[in-house]
């Protein structure tokens, strides 16, 4: 399974989202590859991804995709990430 953590410039916020998504997946005991990406590379990065994690602000920039887009409000809240990933993947 592939999950994309998306931010505007591909450093900083997406890296934090990736680290915390991996922690949430560990809690759920789900194996998945989490990739950090920026808006410029999301089309390619998300081509074979099931899920895109991102901020509500960036959703309009994603464009058309087959992946589930999950909006994360608090990138540091492992409870929020775990609950939303569980709903999407469970």
């Amino acid at each position: 399974m592939k999950i994309v953590a998306l931010c505007g410039v591909g450093i900083g916020t997406s890296a934090i989202l990736k680290v915390n998504a991996e922690r949430a997946l560990e809690r759920l005991d789900i194996e998945a590859e989490v990739t950090a990406a920026d808006i410029a590379s999301v089309k390619l990065a998300a081509a074979d991804a099931q899920v895109i994690l991102t901020s509500s602000e960036l959703v309009p920039s994603i464009g058309k995709t087959n992946a589930d887009v999950i909006i994360i409000d608090n990138f540091f809240d492992l409870d929020e990430l775990t609950a939303k990933l569980e709903t999407a993947l469970g």
């Binding site: 931010c7 505007g8 410039v9 591909g10 450093i11 900083g12 916020t13 890296a15 934090i16 989202l17 680290v19 915390n20 922690r23 808006i39 991102t54 901020s55 509500s56 602000e57 960036l58 920039s61 409000d73 608090n74 990138f75 540091f76 809240d77 492992l78």
Partner: protein, 160 residues
């Protein structure tokens, strides 16, 4: 796997700013003071928000100001600015913001090394209000678990 150095120069506590641009400006000025960036970097951090919106507000009250690596990043750096009065960035859930982290990295890879550390610190939800309430720069640094820089750090090269 540790956070970049955070000299007291790179911390500004209890600032009064009129809006998010000034808040980002303060985080950029703190990076410049500490020798991490040249002035153009601050404008690029503002540009990221102009282009993509307030997604840099990644948790309630917290903005992670940053831009891509570039020639205006002299060395990897972190700055912390806290505001006396929180300002809106335009984020639907996490506004208003009273703690701004300024981040400058020289390569994308380098950054990933300390981002896990940053996540460790901020996974504790009490840290943002604690930073916002910190009375001085030394308190901010100790809340983040960053040791005071010492002269010893520079001797690693000499021992070779």
């Amino acid at each position: 796997m540790s956070l970049p150095p955070l000299p007291l120069d790179a911390i500004d506590v209890g600032l009064h700013v009129p809006d998010w641009r000034a808040a980002i400006g303060a985080a950029g000025a703190a990076l410049e003071r500490s020798g991490s960036t040249a002035p153009g970097y601050t404008e690029r951090m503002v540009g990221v928000i102009e282009e993509f919106g307030a997604y840099v507000v990644i948790a309630p009250g917290l903005a992670l100001a940053h831009a891509r690596p570039g020639p205006d990043v002299l060395t990897e750096g972190l700055s912390v600015v806290t505001l006396a009065e929180a300002v809106p960035f335009g984020h639907p859930h996490n506004d208003p913001v009273n703690v701004i982290l300024g981040l400058a990295v020289t390569t994308g890879d380098e950054h990933v090394h300390f981002v896990a550390e940053l996540a460790n610190v901020f996974n504790d939800s009490s840290i943002i209000p604690a930073l916002a309430a910190a009375p001085d720069a030394a308190t901010v640094r100790s809340l983040l678990g960053i040791a005071e820089p010492t002269g010893e750090q520079a001797t690693t090269e000499d021992k070779k």
